[in-house]
């Protein structure tokens, strides 16, 4: 005998979630099909158990609040560094806190904890990448680049460039030009 089946995936998933969250004795609200709000803060171990339990049904916890915030921090920094005209002159700490609606101390600790690097280092790296890009396209003088990216002077920019890459901006530019001409 063959049985022919028809599925209501939405209902099935809701049922599974209900069973699972009950099993862990969690009160929850389905905010959308993709987002579940749990009333209390889960300890790490419990979150891991819940994730692997859901996993056996093909349901994956794709991110938690932390990893989403980390991505937002990175995106905000990159957006800031690539702003058309000029980097904001306000302190980056208050800029990030404003944009992300969190205290800077919280953002900064979280970032270091998860990425093994600091926000400050990440910003420096992104700024230097931007400097390189502007050096390669050759549209701006180094003085203009320093102004655009809020370096206090050309010397300050050059020092940071040298610290990060091991090369001075002019040697970097010469190498790229030579590569293009060979």
């Amino acid at each position: 005998m063959n049985l022919y089946l028809k599925y209501d995936t939405y209902l099935a998933c809701r049922k599974i979630l209900q069973e699972q969250f009950n099993k862990f004795q969690l009160s929850y609200t389905l905010k959308s099909f993709w987002e579940v709000e749990i009333k209390e803060e889960l300890p790490r171990t419990m979150l891991d158990e819940l994730s692997s339990s859901l996993n056996s049904y093909g349901i994956e916890v794709v991110g938690n609040h932390k990893s989403i915030l980390i991505q937002k921090i990175k995106d905000t920094i990159i957006e800031m560094v690539y702003m058309e005209e000029k980097l904001p002159t306000s302190k980056t700490s208050s800029y990030l806190a404003d944009k992300l609606n969190h205290r800077y101390g919280y953002i900064s600790n979280l970032f270091s904890e998860v990425t093994y690097t600091s926000i400050e280092n990440f910003i420096i790296l992104q700024k230097i990448e931007r400097v390189k890009e502007l050096l390669i396209t050759n549209e701006l003088t180094i003085k203009e680049i320093a102004w655009k990216l809020n370096y206090s002077s050309v010397a300050h920019l050059s020092n940071q460039f040298k610290n990060v890459t091991g090369l001075t901006p002019s040697v970097f530019q010469r190498i790229i030009n030579k590569r293009h001409s060979t």
């Binding site: 990448e129 890459t165 091991g166 090369l167 030579k178 060979t182």
Partner: protein, 148 residues
Amino acid sequence: MQNGLINVLLADDDEDDRLFFREAFEKIKIKTRVKTVNDGVELMKHLIKNGNELPHILFLDLNMPRKNGMDCLLEIKRNNNLKDIPIAIYSTSASEEDIEETFVKGANVYIKKPSDFGTLKKILEEVITINWQYQTSGLNREAFLLNR
């Protein structure tokens, strides 16, 4: 970084250096799989052989018998299948000309072989981390130049 092993290939004719290098990679946080070859001829054979996985980064000694590092660099850059492998020159020489020439020929990283283990570990960790950023975060690979 979180996902998977990073494949590292080292070409160096000095046995002590190879050992030193392997040990340093065992001690760093990022998980790597290290393969070593003893000279340039062996390196090119390994890279060209079908079925061999290409490394995420190649560390290349400049002074090797049979075929030296500079010749390997040129050959790799001329080969369409190999030209995108990030290359870190790993050399005892620290002359400005050597450094600039290898960069112009397409190397991404220049490491002056350090004499102590701690420094080597620190440099390798930094190189692997930055290399990973270039491979995964959409940074412009052409601009990947690092001198240590």
